[in-house]
Symmetry: C2
């Protein structure tokens, strides 16, 4: 006996989504609870997968089961497939995961030259019957036989012209007969075969076409972008037709049980009388808001309203419902969980808790953290007047403002001068990567959501608009034109990577705000989650923002910005360079003495902003040459001065600087003289930083405030490094406490960011009161990927070719990097059961990584301030899914 | 009751080396087996450690035990300490590990103004007695009271001048009395106290001085260089004095039971009549070969010969023996395992097996693999006439020839032009590192065995002579002078890092040869070891050498040299650059088509040299920009051409090249676009290489030869990379087999050289028939150390400060990198129990790392050809120590 491949709607239920697809399972569920669903059956995803795997052969027994269910259908509706009155069916795809508009649909199947007459007879409307036949041939011709839509449209248009009518529904029956003849001729000519007259052959071919649509290019790309596995397959729904276009007592529409944009609890949707679904899509007639239906067809409206309410109560979810009214009678064609904006998702979830429909935990699971991200970017001020030049694909969210630049070298150069630029290119290649790095955002005129520019920008978290085909770029002329206007290099433009808008000038940006519902949801998240959430913040302003967003401390306060990196504190740069260029420890100490009060002030501000919460401060990490001028540029200047006989004093000074820059230069700075290695060789630097920390802490304690400094030693690969740096910090702390007579409680710990630290975490834990996983560097060292190089040079290709499913710098690589973390957690706890374990790489704000951190037993995650709400939500979901820890 | 801190010689034996020190344990053993040893006792290393740990307090009970043993000594020799006749003792240090000359000795202790008269009376020789007293004050004054030797020597010299004599033994008794008075006055003046007259106080102070000598700077440095733990402590041997300077029937000497230089079985050594040990050292009289003693004192000679033979038979080891003859009677003062050259060690071990003295396994354990290294370097031709300019410290073995260069930048520049240079600097700092990298060898005029230059050169395996104080370097003048001769920049010099010699001109170098004994020993090693030994070889010549040295295959054949890297095949460079600069796959393929026959020829030669043995070929690994000109230099050329209005055509060409070089440039090339990432993005490169491999293999099979290619994919971090590259190789192999009609057996495997590969080795093993651990890169990624940067910038300091005990690029870091390997071995075997596991990093030829590989269950190690014998020996030792696997 063969497997069961075909289910009547009354045989299934909502739980069988995997087997019957989303649409099929819900049709079954609606049938089961007694709603008016036109009868039909579903062919399983298993059948589809077996068909595709076997080289396009129907699995044994499938067709027999289809025949059997078809016979059942005939009994239920009292019509005959290919007979009199004719049973007509729709054939629709329905995957386990919603892929809207990606798959194909055929309506009115079962019509042929004979049954069209029976259909006319049964409906008493020959015009209607012939229009059904016309539509069927057109859809079948397109979907099954691969004939372009516009070929049919041209024929139809010509007949309308001849008939002297404008609207489709005005075309008389006789004209439609001729259209059908011409359509069949087109099929003969293009497909090299007659249009199949046998309904069973039609059905068979349609089922095959739906199966095969699983692998059409649109569907493949959609799955790629939305990370849907390729092996789910699609189910096929065969359903008896009902008609919304049988007069003004008929109609069709789509409704949502709540407003999908705002989440407001209101009956929301549109309908058209005397129309089929495709007429709505065609956009010739304007649909009416569903409220109008109450006046036009009050009985149907009442029934619809009741059914919708019942469905929401039944599924305990906002529903997106397709319905048809055939001669006053309501039919449900589809219901599914409604798509919604992030704002709506949050409001609906919270409201439903208040309505007693779902629990808080369910509400927390209803909101997708990744979606929430979109409302947490700095975004274009909604009250701003925008001068939109063009709209492209929204490839990477966020908003960016800068001067248009058309060349990556130029972008890099201007950025080095501290200017903000937007890189504009027809498309990007690995050769442009330094320009992308330097830019605030990227705009391309070609390429889709998986183009190089899109992937690289998303990886770097930079806003990008791609495939903006309206703009014409003149690289040689360093400009682009759009609608008669020209943007030249240096003109300021703005991008909105969330909408795809490209705007003239600098648009005002606003910080995100949390709605009251979101605050409420996050408060529930805080009750549920066991994973702490901190923020990565380097300034008092960031710390304040983080606290506002619910951060329970700072997990990573980098000190390099305080040293002037990245254009912060330009006034400090000369002192920092003095320190870097020092030839002796005394010279270095003299420069450090000048830096001490500045650092102390930095820490004072941050401690104050985070009063009462822990603050993890990482001592200086980047290689010192990052604070010096660029070597190649300097070498060029020296050579040119020499060649042109320039000022000897200037030459000598530059030569001296170049020598030092050369001496500090490194082949692989990422793996070079940085992190605690700086502190080991120049202990005076870390000593100054420790002193600044403790002096600031003492000052606050004297002011009656509570501080909780956690001093973090970066890039430890061997316990001995930590042991010595810890001693240095402790000695300095004791000195400050002795000088001031005030003691401050503090801890010393380390970043775990190289694999050796993971596998020797038992030794390291003996010296560390806390570990903080630096997963950016750990990902670089575990893979042997330099992020600077990989993302542009080969990682984009790896993602395009699915060598890797995810960018490991965005979502934590759990089997590799995660495994190393698990080893470290286990070894660390073995030595020090109460060790505090955190993560401060960018992964700390990415939902799947947060889930991993919960499972791995970490104490907290630390994310950038704007991602703190995401982390709170993701941590709560992890606790619900995997249990509290 | 207190611990036993003091052992009479008759209470101990040779097994108590740890407690009694090497000297004490052997004195006990000789006493135990009835040899004529002057009675004495040993204070344990425990007593020393407790003394040092307690802040220089004698442990409770120690002194009482010394008193007790002293009384026993008085009974044994019939003399009294501080009495009549006076018991005189020597006080000598003796650590568990031999530290020759590093510790202090005091003779004739027990003499004072009174006992010197008793001593004169007992010996009947006042001159002798006063000379003993003089020597004692001098040694005691130096060792215990810290008065410089030369201060005593000046006094003694003045008295000799006044007495009108030259040799010490000619000074009359009366003059010696006055010397003693002046010595005592010197002590009073310098030490601020009287010379202690009380023998017990002398003894107590002497014991303390020996204890404390454990931490004198010489001893600390010696332990550091020789990797001896700091916590062993030293024992103190107190022994009744015998005198070799009591006339022409007395004497003293040192003999070896075999020739320590050649290993020949002959009685070898020197002696002096009427002398004490220190007279031999002073070098005023020339010692006689021990054979002469047979004529001068035949009875003593006979006895000595018999005792020495007995000791060798007893210890089953070549002995280094100190003896004294007092008035015709032989006394044994010390015996220990004799130091020997590598050649001698091998010959002695093999001879002793043939003599039935030891087993083959014992012989294998007798030869230190690290020592053998010295005879496996290319070395100075022993038959060459050498013009030695000066001799410094032999800091890093091997010989080097090159032009003297005095500036690291210049060294780098000349090396880039393909010239061989020797970097000459007063000393080196991290700023010189690029010069050391570029040089064949390093010569410094300052610094010791642990100076920056010494550590860095050893780490890089480059010959170095340091602290060569005879040369005077004029950096500004780019020259050095020595003994009136001047070496200028560009003059060729040679270094011998094994002897410390610096030679004028290019000395001829010779390849090492294996002696018959060494071949025999290695044959035994091959019987015992279970770990395979292969070689890393890139050319047929290297492969031939490796085979000659016993390699059982090639574990790593790098293909980058075949692409012209490192100055090999300069004629290929233009073709390789054409390939690198290609803008399209077609252009790239065209260049690859030209490279194919060259690669095929390379592989043909290597397969032929290794006929019948496996050859692992690694597909192209380095980043492509390594094949292009240097970016900064190019940028400078372009800028200068622009500034000076140079040839526009040349400018344009260079600008184009610069653009490409820039596009390929990387922040961290070590972690960049290299390894299999090249093959993933440009599959045509790996395809060409695979084709060359299989075409060469087919050609050899047609010639009737056996080939065993193993195709190795480098830098795999994710199984998907290996899966795809493996498919590419297999597809190419099938194509070649189909074209030629010949099939060749081959395997495909991967390097394991990034931590992610280790922790996902179970997945990777599904696609790999073998793993080869690339421990150079694995060390870089596990630690986060870029070798290029670390060794110069901070690793030397880490080693000097003992943050790390060993350079992890020399000896495998077992707790970290080794742990990652163990994880990979376990996971790999879980998926594929018969997976072949090798190592091809430089560690494959380092003994402690080979030992680890044996324990970790690897199949083979692969080492550079010259290190193959070391690996064979080390592998045998590992099998003996840890059991065969």
């Amino acid at each position: 006996m063969s497997k069961k491949y075909v289910y009547l709607f009354q045989e299934g239920d909502a739980s069988q989504r995997q087997l019957l697809g989303g649409k099929g399972a819900n049709l079954a569920e609606m049938t089961r609870i007694g709603l008016p669903v036109p009868p039909g059956f579903t062919i399983t995803t298993e059948a589809c997968n077996e068909y595709l795997a076997s080289g396009k052969q129907f699995p044994a027994g499938l067709w027999e089961q289809v025949e059997e269910k078809l016979a059942e259908l005939e009994r239920q509706v009292g019509k005959r497939f290919g007979g009199r009155p004719p049973l007509l069916v729709s054939v629709r795809s329905g995957a386990p995961v919603s892929m809207p508009g990606m798959m194909d649909t055929i309506l009115n199947l079962g019509l042929n030259d004979t049954t069209v007459e029976y259909h006319a007879e049964a409906t008493g409307d020959p015009r209607f019957a012939w229009d059904c036949y016309r539509r069927f041939i057109q859809m079948f011709g397109n979907v099954v036989l691969g004939i372009a839509h516009h070929r049919f449209e041209e024929i139809f248009f010509e007949h309308k012209r001849r008939a002297g009518v404008e609207a489709d529904y005005q075309v008389p029956a006789e004209a439609l007969r001729r259209v059908v003849e011409d359509y069949k001729a087109l099929v003969r000519q293009e497909a090299g075969r007659e249009f199949p007259q046998e309904p069973r052959e039609q059905l068979r071919l349609a089922i095959q076409a739906v199966f095969e649509s699983w692998n059409n290019p649109r569907a493949i790309v959609y799955r790629q972008v939305n990370k849907i596995p390729d092996d789910l397959g699609t189910a096929v729904n065969v359903q008896s037709m009902v008609f919304g276009n049988m007069g003004m007592d008929s109609g069709t529409g789509v409704v949502f049980t709540r407003n999908p944009s705002t989440g407001a609890k209101e009956f929301y949707g549109e309908y058209l009388l005397n129309a089929q679904g495709e007429d709505v899509v065609a956009g010739i007639r304007t649909p009416q808001p569903v409220a109008v239906l109450e006046r036009e067809l009050p009985a149907a409206y009442d029934q619809l309203y009741r059914v919708c309410h019942l469905l929401e109560q039944h599924f305990k979810e906002m529903q997106d419902i397709e319905f048809t009214i055939e001669r006053g009678k309501l039919y449900m064609l589809q219901c599914r969980t409604g798509k919604r904006t992030a704002q709506a998702a949050i409001k609906i979830a919270v409201d439903m808790v208040h309505e007693g429909l779902i629990t808080r935990e369910e509400a927390l699971l209803r909101v997708e953290p990744a979606q929430v991200e979109k409302i947490l970017y700095r975004s274009v001020d909604p009250n701003a007047q925008l001068d939109v030049l063009a709209t492209g694909l929204p490839a990477s969210p966020g908003a960016a403002v800068g001067e248009a630049v058309f060349d990556p070298d130029r972008a890099e150069q201007l950025a080095r001068e501290g200017r903000r630029v937007i890189l504009v290119r027809p498309e990007t290649t690995p050769d442009d990567i330094h320009g992308i790095v330097a830019a605030q955002g990227v705009l391309t005129s070609r390429g889709g959501m998986t183009s190089h520019a899109a992937i690289v920008a998303r990886g770097m978290g930079k806003p990008a608009v791609v495939g903006c085909e309206a703009i014409r770029i003149d690289l040689a002329g360093r400009s682009f034109s759009v609608n008669g206007r020209t943007v030249r290099e240096g003109d300021v433009i703005s991008l909105d990577g969330g909408t795809g808008n490209v705007m003239w000038g600098a648009v005002p940006l606003v910080d995100p705000e949390l709605s009251p519902e979101f605050r409420e949801l996050l408060a529930w998240a805080d009750e549920v989650r066991t994973l702490g959430v901190r923020a990565n913040a380097d300034t008092p302003v960031d710390a304040q923002k983080a606290r506002e967003f619910g951060a329970e401390g700072i997990g990573l306060c980098r000190t390099e910005h305080m040293f002037g990196q990245g254009g912060y504190h330009p006034e400090r740069m000369p002192v920092v360079q003095e320190m870097v260029l020092a030839e002796t420890a005394e010279e270095r100490r003299a420069a450090l003495d000048k830096l001490l009060p500045m650092q102390r002030e930095d820490f004072y501000g941050i401690f104050k902003a985070m009063e009462g919460l822990p603050v993890t401060i990482r001592l200086l990490d980047p290689p010192l040459h990052e604070f010096l001028p660029h070597q190649e540029q300097l070498a060029v200047e020296v050579a040119v001065l020499r060649a042109t006989g320039g000022d000897p004093a200037q030459l000598e000074q530059k030569e001296r600087l170049l020598r030092k820059v050369r001496a500090l230069a490194e082949m692989n700075p990422m793996l070079g003289f940085r992190g605690c290695r700086l502190g080991m060789i120049f202990p005076e630097i870390y000593e100054m930083q420790a002193r600044a920390i403790f002096e600031a802490a003492v000052q606050l304690v004297r002011e009656g405030l509570r501080v909780e400094p956690e001093v973090m030693i970066p890039l430890v690969s061997h316990v001995e490094e930590l042991r010595r740096m810890r001693q240095l910090v402790e000695k300095t702390a004791e000195a400050v406490f002795a000088e001031t007579g005030v003691r401050v409680r503090y801890t010393v710990g380390t970043m775990i960011e190289v694999p050796r630290a993971c596998v020797t975490a038992d030794e390291i834990a003996a010296e560390a009161e806390f570990f903080s996983f630096g997963t950016n560097d750990l990902t670089q060292t575990a893979f042997g990927f330099s992020r600077d190089d990989a993302e542009g040079k080969f990682l984009a290709a790896y993602l395009q070719q699915k060598v890797l499913r995810e960018n490991p710098f965005v979502a934590l690589d759990q089997p590799g990097v995660g495994r190393l973390m698990e080893i470290a957690v286990e070894l660390g706890r073995k030595t020090r059961p109460d060790i505090k374990l955190g993560i401060c790489g960018e992964h700390g704000g990415e939902p799947s990584s947060v889930d991993f951190c919960h499972r791995a037993g970490l104490t907290y995650v630390s994310a950038s301030p704007l991602r703190v709400p995401i982390a709170r939500l993701a941590a709560a979901q992890a606790a619900i899914r995997h249990g509290r820890r």
